[in-house]
């Protein structure tokens, strides 16, 4: 058994609001192995980003980790002091933020921003070394190092995105979290960036947590997939297995919501309804009201994430338990 690099144990995190606490990440547990490419998918507002920010310890002022632990290299990130977290952040775990197009400061050159990152999180660079490193980073993401003195507006969307990825790699982290890195980009640039990320991860051996709502992207490139719904992981397993045989009704709905490019066109309806309000979650299974397979039991009791069909496949659904897992 490979050793896991990051271990999240029954994490609960969310936000304090005037109307009450929102638990946006509810009892989430998973492992991330070294060099693994984990995909996290779900609709907007299902807690994907909150999960990422919790791991980075970058939640907003009203955001809290209520309970649980995030173990990285035998240390619990949740209980770490601020200064200690600062040392892990970026040098060990770094992140590519959503809408990276706007994540760069428009009045600073690329060089200044890359050097800033190195200066803020590490003491081991003097200036000439840092510039050299910055040039190397640009080469890694296929941008001419001469562009170092350019400003963000001189670069295309795809290039800005790659600069942000270069920035995340600046201190050779062990884990990179990518939060919807390609949402605003068109298909060709998207494919290009994903292949680069994949290639770099193979070259340097870092692990990736890739967050997106576009499942069609994830199944092709990730090793394992976690499907999130209303703050919980509802299905977890190998990407290939989930694609070939989605078990949870929500995963099935997500799979049917993108039209295929080849093969027959089926008129599909997507997923009816909308995600539940975190402030008034229904009792029982959260997905019950949108589910085609809902049973009486689903309305009252909440299913737990349990092992199904093989070692690494976990699903939380009563219907799946009855229909699919009985024979095994």
């Amino acid at each position: 058994m490979e050793e896991s690099l990051l271990k999240v144990n029954s994490l609960e995190a969310g936000y304090e609001t005037q109307k009450g606490n929102i638990v946006a990440v509810n009892n989430v547990s998973f492992n991330l192995k070294k060099g693994e490419f984990l995909g996290v998918a779900g609709e907007s507002g299902c807690g994907k980003s909150t999960l990422a920010y919790s791991i980075m310890r970058l939640l907003e002022d009203n955001g809290h980790i209520f309970s649980g632990e995030i173990i990285y290299k035998n240390k619990d990130l949740v209980r770490m002091g601020k200064n200690e977290v600062k040392k892990t952040r970026w040098s060990e775990i770094s992140m590519v933020f959503q809408s990276a197009m706007n994540a760069l400061n428009p009045v600073l050159s690329i060089k200044a921003q890359l050097l800033d990152v190195m200066k803020a999180h590490s003491d081991s660079f003097d200036k000439s070394e840092a510039v050299k490193k910055a040039k190397n980073l640009l080469e890694l993401v296929n941008i001419n190092p001469e562009r170092l003195n350019d400003y963000p507006h001189q670069l295309s969307g795809g290039m800005k995105q790659r600069i942000i990825i270069a920035m995340a790699m600046a201190l050779d982290p062990e884990i990179i979290i990518l939060d919807e890195p390609t949402t605003a980009l068109d298909v060709v640039v998207q494919r290009n960036i994903i292949e680069q990320i994949d290639g770099l991860s193979e070259k340097f051996g870092f692990s990736i947590i890739f967050i997106t709502h576009d499942l069609s992207l994830l199944v092709e490139i990730t090793d394992r997939l976690a499907i999130m719904y209303a703050g919980k992981i509802v299905e977890l397993g190998k990407a290939k297995e989930i694609y070939q045989n989605p078990l949870h009704p929500y995963t099935k709905g997500l799979m049917n919501s993108f039209p295929p490019l080849t093969g027959e066109i089926e008129i599909s309806s997507g997923i009816p309804g909308k995600p539940p309000d975190f402030l008034s979650l229904p009792p029982g299974c959260n997905f019950q009201s949108r589910c085609d397979y809902s049973m009486d039991k689903c309305k009252n009791e909440e299913p737990e994430l349990s092992n199904c069909k093989g070692e690494e496949r976990f699903v939380s659904c009563y219907w799946v338990e009855e229909e699919c897992c009985d024979d095994g």
């Binding site: 060709v188 494919r191 049917n256 919501s257 993108f258 490019l261 080849t262 008129i267 909308k274």
Partner: protein, 322 residues
């Protein structure tokens, strides 16, 4: 014989670059585009960012004036003659849905005040009946109960709901042509298909035509009757949707096809080398504008822009390979 609703005849749009002492530079965003949209047809315009798709839509709704060429709507030139004088009538018949649902509705107005305007401006009904009409339109796009939405502000609605309000607003004047500029790209994947179904349903019901702009070939295939592929301001391939996908001719369309996520094709380890980007439209490459990225480049490719020629019935391609 179908009726042509909209016809672009060598439509060209150049933007002037305003730069100190260099006044002759132009961005060649649209070059000699020839397109037709029939009544009740969905034509999808596909291409990367910066290929001129949105410019095409904006020229059609007269946000930007055309540099040269003609656009005919119901056989009348929209820039000269009838529709130039009766531009309100034109605006009633051609409506647009914008890409960003969060940015295209005024945040300080309620949905009621946003939705009321098209009815009043275009005299669709008497002011007394506006309320009823608004509710009917909201119902049509699937926002129920409509009364509940009218008093809300845009920030209270989700992206999918906002885009439905946008569609309702465009549909309010009962247009004959709807230009949809990437209407689903800002939405969640799970909502996209609902949106496309809704648009197709409205097309069936009211016999409207669409120009559906997207960069997603799979989506274009799902919704459109015909697909037109644009690259760097030029139309490179146009034809029936299914034929474009199954029997792709232009190397650029092949590239788009390869880049699209296709989990159903299995887990190929095949990598593409897509390091180059779309060329500058100020100094576009000579000859075929795609030749710097093309796998099948031939010597004649960088000399002259190839002509559009009909390869199959209704399937045109601009490439020296054929």
């Amino acid at each position: 014989m179908t009726d042509k609703l909209l016809q672009l005849d060598n439509a060209t749009k150049h933007f002037k670059v305003r730069k100190f002492l260099e006044s002759n530079q132009k961005v060649r965003a649209m070059e000699n585009i020839n397109l037709e949209i029939d009544k009740g047809e969905i034509l999808s315009l596909v291409g990367e960012s910066g290929s001129g798709k949105s410019t095409t839509a904006k020229v059609i709704v007269k946000i930007h004036p055309l540099t040269s060429g003609k656009i005919l709507f119901k056989d009348r030139d929209i820039y000269n003659g009838y529709y130039d004088k009766e531009s309100k009538e034109y605006k009633q018949e051609v409506q647009m849905i914008f890409q960003d649902p969060f940015g295209s509705l005024n945040p300080t107005h309620t949905i009621r005040s946003i939705l009321k305007r098209p009815f009043l401006i275009h005299d669709i009904c008497s002011p007394k009946k506006v309320e009823m009409y608004m509710k009917q339109k909201l119902k049509e796009v699937g926002l129920e109960p409509p009364g509940q939405f009218l008093d809300k502000f845009p920030h209270e609605l989700s992206g999918g709901q906002l885009q439905r309000v946008n569609i309702a607003r465009a549909m309010a004047v009962e247009p004959e042509l709807l230009l949809a500029d990437e209407p689903t790209s800002m939405l969640d994947v799970s909502i996209r298909i609902n949106m496309m179904n809704k648009m197709m349903e409205l097309k069936e019901k009211n016999n409207i035509s669409y120009l559906y702009i997207t960069h997603n070939l799979a989506g274009a295939r799902y919704i459109a009757d015909r697909i037109a592929v644009m690259y760097a301001g030029l139309l490179v391939e146009i034809g029936p949707a299914e034929r474009i996908i199954q029997n792709t001719l232009h190397p650029y369309t092949m590239l788009l096809k390869k880049a699209a996520p296709q989990p159903e094709k299995g887990f190929s380890e095949e990598k593409m080398n897509l390091s180059t980007e779309i060329p500058s439209l100020i100094n576009p490459p000579t000859g075929c504008r795609f030749h710097p990225r093309c796998e099948y480049k031939k010597p004649e490719c960088d000399e002259k822009i190839p002509d559009m020629r009909e390869e199959n019935e209704g399937h045109f391609v601009r490439c020296y390979l054929y």
